[in-house]
Symmetry: C2
Subunit: 278 residues, 2 copies
């Protein structure tokens, strides 16, 4: 596994790797969810690359950039074991040098849900992903369904800007009790960790109602809310039952939907989602 | 010369062309200025591609999108004679299908001068150029110095977003009387055409003062203004003496500068510029 730091090194290393190249962009502190993306890339591509970069522009001023967990040595071991060929470790000063001033923005899809709660977040995401696409020139790029809106926004960006990259969205990986894997789970203390599967339980409750025939979106939101507020350590930020394509809140359900939520467990903000279709 | 319309055709045609590929993006109605870009690309690249696309997103609601001059047959003849290998003729519906919502924006450099007079103009330019870079995947792209701020904004975008494309800026071509070549010159009637070299004359007057030692930027702006207002058919929109790198207006001159202006000759808006450095 080759590890590079400068963009020039990356471009030189990239040229020597056979196509198609599959890229897994990450912010590090890798878990099995990330590794499942690498494994998928490994299964379908000649070359597999990853980036580790805690992207400052996707964090708001009051968010957890400074304390975002890091474990470079562990990350590199996991990437190597999963068969990664090439890893880029750019620095913030490399990615956003003095005078940096270009932004990629998706208008509609980035506005509701996470976009409403985290102003500027998706502008940071789409900008850094555009930069990573230009730096790596991958044929495929892998993202997790856990960040459902991010996946939708990146698909839209890639399509709108004609990036010659296939976006592959991979299933959310979960702990045994249903908690979606996330680097931020490391913030949870023992009690909070025990409370955290309430997101998964509330999604399950809504899904059960949906499969029992419930097509009133407000009812599904209410079922998720009821489950969440029953957990004393949980503080609900939003629950959503939205059209899968537009991410707009629904009244009547008529097609593919995204159930999603953001919930504080103590001081840790967690998100989760299910996609439902018939 | 191969002419393609769909993006899929373009990608297939592109794959067959040897690298490096030089791209000349145009809005058509080609003149010798455009052709000089093609010739430069031809001289330095294995393959030469061009696009003809009157990009609606870079026109304001009151601007000349609908009446922008077109001459597809003439354009294709000129491109073929200059040695172009591949031409893409996308349609607005292809470039901006229903649901399109992604924009590339340069913050600082795009704000003054043309950006102040034409809100949204550079957002349209950088977005379409990003799309063209992704569609053609050129190693080099050629733009004219005539649109000085556009050149600066595109260089900034390519650098900030890590596009693997070298941006080549080529000199402004001029008519015998100094008028900068522009597709919009075709709007001018006989009297206006005779008046139009006043932009060039005013730039020359300021340059003469600069070479005579004048380093007060306001003086240079005044010299350009005086020359322009002496022409009855000219209506000045702005004159600028700006720092070449930041495009911010100067008081004292201390390095490379951009003299630039936008002037209405009748109903036709013309721009021109000189770069000066010692």
């Amino acid at each position: 596994m080759q590890i590079v730091t400068s963009l020039e090194e990356l471009r030189a290393a990239r040229r020597l790797r056979p196509a198609p190249l599959g890229l897994v962009p990450t912010m590090g502190y890798l878990h099995s969810g990330h590794i499942s993306l690498v494994q998928r890339a490994r299964a379908e591509s000649e070359s597999v690359a990853a980036s580790i970069f805690v992207n400052p522009t996707q964090f708001g001023p009051t968010e957890d950039l400074a304390k975002y967990p890091r474990n470079l040595e562990g990350d590199l071991n996991l990437l190597e074991a999963a068969g990664t060929d090439l890893v880029w470790l750019p620095t913030p000063a490399q990615m956003y040098p003095t005078g940096y001033q270009t932004w990629v923005e998706v208008d509609g899809l980035a506005s509701p849900l996470e976009g409403a709660m985290r102003p500027g977040h998706f502008r940071g995401v789409t900008t850094v992903v555009a930069k990573l696409f230009n730096a790596f020139q991958p044929q495929r790029a892998y993202f997790g369904q856990k960040d459902a809106q991010q996946a939708a926004v990146i698909c839209r960006m890639a399509r709108d800007l004609d990036f010659p990259v296939e976006i592959v969205i991979c299933p959310t990986l979960r702990e045994a009790d249903g908690l979606a894997m996330s680097s931020r789970n490391s913030y949870l203390n023992t009690d909070e960790r025990q409370a955290a599967p309430v997101l998964f339980r509330s999604l399950n409750a809504a899904r059960a109602a949906y499969y029992a025939g419930e097509r009133n979106a407000e009812k599904l939101r209410q079922i998720m809310t009821d489950t969440l507020i029953a957990e004393p350590l949980a503080r609900l930020q939003y629950v959503s039952c939205a059209d899968y394509d537009s991410l707009q809140e629904l009244q009547e359900i008529n097609g593919k939907i995204l159930l999603s939520m953001a919930v504080y467990i103590g001081k840790t903000r967690l998100i989760d989602n299910f996609v439902l279709e018939n």
